[in-house]
């Protein structure tokens, strides 16, 4: 009799701790895309750390995204309207490529990598920094290419592609680029 009563009491006790644990609530996964944030941050650094020819130093500084809505959102949220030198940053998500030539930087995301050759063709000879996110992106004409190193987003660089269109890559960017 006593043992069964005790068992009931103990069961009730276990349940109360369980209830308490449940009541404290489950933590909620923070809505964020850390990689999109890192890429956006890198893109803004590319904007700040490179030097464009004088003809591109007037008006707005246009950073165009082809593909990733997440990177576009991060850029818009954190960096839109911030100064890049004497210019104001404008972020655009390109649904087609017809306005691409007004850009200072074009980022072609992983999901739209198939468009990279066309982007390179449209921007040929123009002072536009092309940033890709695909294997062999530099070989396909990009000046900077996001790569994954030990799960982290890093970038590799082809100085010559930038020089060809009169863009000078900053020393720090060069220093931290992953050597291809």
């Amino acid at each position: 009799m006593r043992k069964s009563t005790l068992l009931v009491i103990l069961f009730a006790l276990v349940s109360s701790f369980q209830l308490l644990a449940q009541n404290s609530g489950e933590p909620v996964l923070e809505e964020a895309d850390p990689n999109a944030a890192f890429k956006a941050s890198f893109l803004f650094m590319f904007a700040k750390s490179c030097d464009w020819p004088d003809a591109k130093k007037e008006g707005e500084f246009v950073l165009s995204v082809v593909g990733s809505k997440r990177v576009f959102d991060e850029l818009s949220y954190t960096y839109a309207s911030k100064p890049v030198g004497s210019q104001v940053l404008v972020v655009e998500l390109l649904s087609d490529l017809k306005n691409i030539t007004k850009s200072h930087i074009v980022f072609v995301s992983r999901s739209q990598s198939k468009l990279l050759p066309e982007v390179v063709k449209l921007c040929k000879g123009l002072p536009i920094l092309i940033v890709s996110e695909t294997e062999g992106g530099l070989g396909k004409g990009a000046a900077l290419n996001f790569i994954v190193v030990d799960n982290a987003t890093r970038y590799e660089l082809n100085q010559q592609h930038a020089k060809n269109v009169f863009i000078e890559i900053g020393a720090k960017l060069t220093q931290f680029a992953i050597k291809p």
Partner: protein, 306 residues
């Protein structure tokens, strides 16, 4: 029901009293007073009994414990620092220690069960109003609960209690952390106590899931520190710290997924962690798994309906 329990206790007390009537007159008088409801008078007589030769009798200590327990129940139950409860525990322990033949074991155990449960309930109350800077009493009461239950039943298995207790403490730290995510030591404590729970049951879903979320979210909060002024060296460092946290989160979330493979929250979290680790293939695999489970009706299309 409560009245029935009190009557039952008194019958037990009087039965024991009859069995010992000849050797311990003061103790018997104390028991009678207790039965008549004069608890203060009973306590005085019991103290007189224990000041003399009756102190050698285990029943005399049991009666003292019983009287203090009744006083505690009557006037100090709301007090977390009841001295009568402490006196009751000490007297019952004394009775047990000199009751070498175990004549009064059953009575003592019943009293210990009650007292143990009261400490447990107080620990519970304190967890509900958890204060990270003042939690020694919670642990002290939980330890006392265990100590008394072991005295009552030396083979009692506390595995489930310890698991749930650690989870409840972890949850309390976690709740405080999410109210102020700058206080990182709180989430570290939460993870520590989930870790203790996982030592007891490595497959515990809640501990695995919550640990993973806590680690992942810390990474996200670091990402949010990045702003317009962040320098490249700083960015690289933040990223490395985040990746470390995301990598730490992954095995916990995978373990949680093993236990509950068809839960939306786990699948969504795995998608996020793999994406944060730049493993888009695995992220898309879990995205597809979730889509298939929704399609088959095992998970509802709306998160709120699960």
């Amino acid at each position: 029901m409560k009245g029935f329990q009190i009557i039952l206790s008194l019958v037990i007390l009087v039965t024991a009293f009859t069995a010992s009537a000849q050797d311990i007159p003061l103790t018997n008088k104390a028991a009678s007073l207790c039965q008549s409801g004069d608890l203060i008078g009973a306590r005085e007589v019991s103290d007189q009994a224990l000041a003399g030769e009756e102190a050698a009798h285990p029943y005399a200590w049991y009666v003292k414990g019983y009287i203090h327990k009744e006083i505690y129940k009557l006037i100090e139950k709301q007090s977390l620092h009841s001295s009568n409860r402490v006196d009751a525990v000490n007297a019952i322990k004394k009775s047990l220690s000199i009751d070498t033949d175990g004549v009064y074991r059953e009575f003592n155990s019943k009293a210990l069960d009650f007292l143990g449960v009261s400490y447990y309930n107080d620990a519970l109350l304190l967890i509900e109003s958890f204060d990270a800077d003042d939690n020694e009493l919670i642990f002290s009461y939980y330890d006392t609960f265990k100590e008394l239950m072991v005295l009552s039943d030396p083979f009692y298995d506390f595995t489930q209690f310890d698991l749930d207790f650690n989870k409840a403490i972890a949850g309390s730290y976690e709740k405080l952390f999410y109210a102020d995510v700058q206080q990182k030591e709180l989430v570290q404590q939460a993870i520590h106590y989930y870790g203790l729970a996982l030592q007891i049951n490595p497959k515990d879903y809640t501990s695995n899931f919550n640990t993973a979320i806590d680690l992942y979210n810390q990474g996200v909060y670091k990402v949010r520190l990045i702003d317009y002024d962040t320098e490249i060296v700083e960015l690289l460092m933040i990223q490395d710290e985040c990746i470390k946290l995301f990598k730490q989160a992954l095995p916990f979330m995978l373990k949680a997924h093993e236990q509950t493979p068809e839960r939306r929250e786990t699948l969504v979290a795995l998608m996020a962690i793999y994406r944060a680790l730049n493993d888009y293939e695995r992220s898309e695999y879990f995205q597809e798994t979730l889509a298939n489970l929704i399609k088959s009706g095992k998970i509802s299309p709306s998160p709120k309906m699960n």
